[in-house]
């Protein structure tokens, strides 16, 4: 019995030593909690959408595990490198590549395709070993453990385009996204009518806008905007030009006006609905 007691004590003390070392001998790192699925709501601004894309790119999307400058496992995306400029900029050239067999017609479609069907086009040298660059080792980002939604993939594309410095062509997700699930108090309230939205953001302080009483002349008169908007900047449709002018006003400044006058944070304060309404309103009323 004496032997038995001794052995039991020995065993208990030894296990306690291991337990103690695990608890007090090493730092207690608290692992990251399971990722929460990002809520994409209809009332999101473009900047928020792009920022969300960045968050997904660096976090939940796990893109940077391979798309980083250290391992050389995959081409760099949000920055330039030995594979050329950032992907947002080089995508347009990719679809012209003679080896390209995918369905994408535009740069945006190309990036989208690369995310959901990585093997559609494999950059030379990054294929699975032994497949002669026909099969990509990358998982489809809309499936499996990554499982991005369509809206999230759009966010990533917008982020990649933004970081390449090219025009963001992705459309904001509309109200169909799970708006209802989003907590109401955290979201800004959207204006109900375009007039309300225009007044809310103080546009008439500087601009004359058809259909709105009173208007300043610090900024260009918006009369006839719809007809000239498409010709202002090469490559931008009227719609795109108006959106750019609201979200990043200093991208193009109309002759005779001072750059930096118009507030640059409209992209943050304006909701998607409002932006949509204002653009639609301007396209219709200023014709």
């Amino acid at each position: 019995m004496k032997v038995f007691v001794r052995i039991v004590i020995f065993s208990i003390v030894l296990s306690l030593c291991y337990w103690g070392f695990s608890n007090y001998g090493i730092p207690q790192v608290i692992p990251e909690p399971p990722p929460v699925e990002e809520q994409i709501s209809g009332s999101m601004t473009m900047d928020q959408y792009i920022a969300l894309g960045g968050k997904i790119f660096n976090g939940k999307g796990t893109c940077t595990l391979c798309h980083n400058p250290v391992g050389g496992r995959a081409p760099l995306l949000d920055t330039g490198g030995k594979d050329g400029p950032p992907v947002g900029a080089r995508a347009a050239d990719r679809i012209k590549d003679p080896g390209y067999k995918g369905k994408a017609k535009t740069a945006e479609e190309y990036i989208h395709e690369s995310e959901v069907d990585p093997s559609a086009f494999v950059v030379a040298g990054y294929g699975k070993p032994g497949t002669n660059d026909t099969v990509s080792p990358m998982p489809a980002t809309n499936k499996g453990s990554i499982g991005l939604s369509e809206a999230e993939i759009g966010a990533v594309i917008s982020y990649l385009q933004k970081s390449a410095g090219v025009q963001v062509t992705v459309k904001l997700p509309t109200g169909a996204a799970p708006v209802a699930a989003a907590p109401a108090d955290a979201e800004p309230q959207s204006a109900k009518t375009p007039e309300e939205a225009i007044n809310k953001h103080g546009c008439p302080t500087c601009h004359k806008i058809p259909g709105i009483e009173e208007g300043g002349d610090i900024g260009p008169d918006q009369k006839g905007l719809a007809s000239r908007a498409g010709k202002r900047v090469k490559g931008l449709s009227a719609r795109e030009y108006i959106m750019q002018s609201i979200v990043s006003p200093d991208a193009y400044t109309v002759k005779g006006f001072e750059p930096g006058t118009m507030p640059a944070d409209l992209g943050e304060t304006m909701t998607v609905k409002e932006l949509e309404m204002i653009i639609k309103y301007l396209m219709e009323k200023t014709g």
């Binding site: 070392f21 001998g25 730092p27 400058p69 760099l76 949000d78 920055t79 330039g80 490198g81 970081s163």
Partner: protein, 253 residues
């Protein structure tokens, strides 16, 4: 008794190797520091050193008996009552001392797993512009004709702004050297700027302590956000100066 003394001497020798030998070696490799073995690690090292010594002295029957003999005598023989009391008192006092050391209030900052050269982000935003740190190079490095002039101008920037902490010899021992923690970087040392790319320095100077990523424990460093006080050109020139003065060359790969 002989074996017990042998055990104590062996443990002491290994203790000294860890306590003095490793710092001495480290000091030889890294002048001006005394890289002690951290207490947390030292405890585990010593635990296994003691275990190793005891295992060595007890695997053989006679040796084990001899090692145990003085201990048995002290606790077992009635005539050694006085000695027994002394030994028990020493053990109790030692226990008390260790407990006291552990629970006494201290002003020691909590331990942080701080990484001194954290991985830089791929791009950084300064002065409203985005810089790609992977491809960024020092524009003045290529300008061979005005190298002397630019480096000298960088020196002026250094002595106007940086030398209070980083020192006039660039050895990290400026006037306020002892007042900040972590210590100002010693640029002369081979372990700092000599191991880094110029873009890394650009990022570190431009965003300062608050701009460190999470593993670098942001706000723990007293380094200001220099983009608020210096221009892009001034930062590049001061980087040129740092390498020029210390004789190091920046890493380019």
């Amino acid at each position: 008794m002989k074996k017990l003394i042998q055990a104590v001497i062996l443990i002491l020798v290994f203790y000294l190797i860890l306590k003095v030998g490793i710092p001495a070696l480290g000091s030889f490799l890294h002048h001006g520091t005394w890289p002690v073995v951290p207490t947390a690690l030292m405890r585990i090292y010593m635990f296994f050193v003691v275990a190793g010594v005891l295992l060595y002295l007890t695997f053989n029957e006679e040796s084990a008996k001899e090692l145990g003999k003085p201990i048995k005598e002290i606790y077992g023989s009635p005539e050694k009552g006085g000695l027994r009391m002394i030994v028990i008192a020493i053990i109790a006092l030692f226990g008390g001392y260790v407990t006291y050391q552990n629970v006494k209030p201290s002003f020691e900052a909590p331990i942080e797993l701080r990484s001194i050269h954290p991985a830089p982000p791929s791009s950084v935003e300064m002065w409203g512009k985005t810089y790609n740190l992977m491809t960024l190079t020092n524009p003045f490095r290529a300008d061979k004709a005005n190298y002397e002039k630019n480096a000298k101008e960088g020196g002026i920037v250094f002595f106007k702004n940086c030398f209070y902490c980083h020192g006039d010899k660039l050895d990290g021992k400026g006037h306020y050297y002892s007042g900040v923690s972590p210590l100002p970087a010693n640029f002369v040392d081979v372990g700092t700027i000599a191991q880094l790319q110029e873009s890394f320095l650009f990022w570190r100077i431009g965003t300062g302590g608050p701009g460190l990523p999470k593993e670098g424990a942001p706000w723990r460093s007293a380094m200001p956000i220099w983009q608020h006080f210096l221009s892009e050109e001034e930062i590049w020139k001061v980087i040129l100066f740092l390498y020029d003065y210390t004789g190091h060359s920046p890493r380019t790969f």
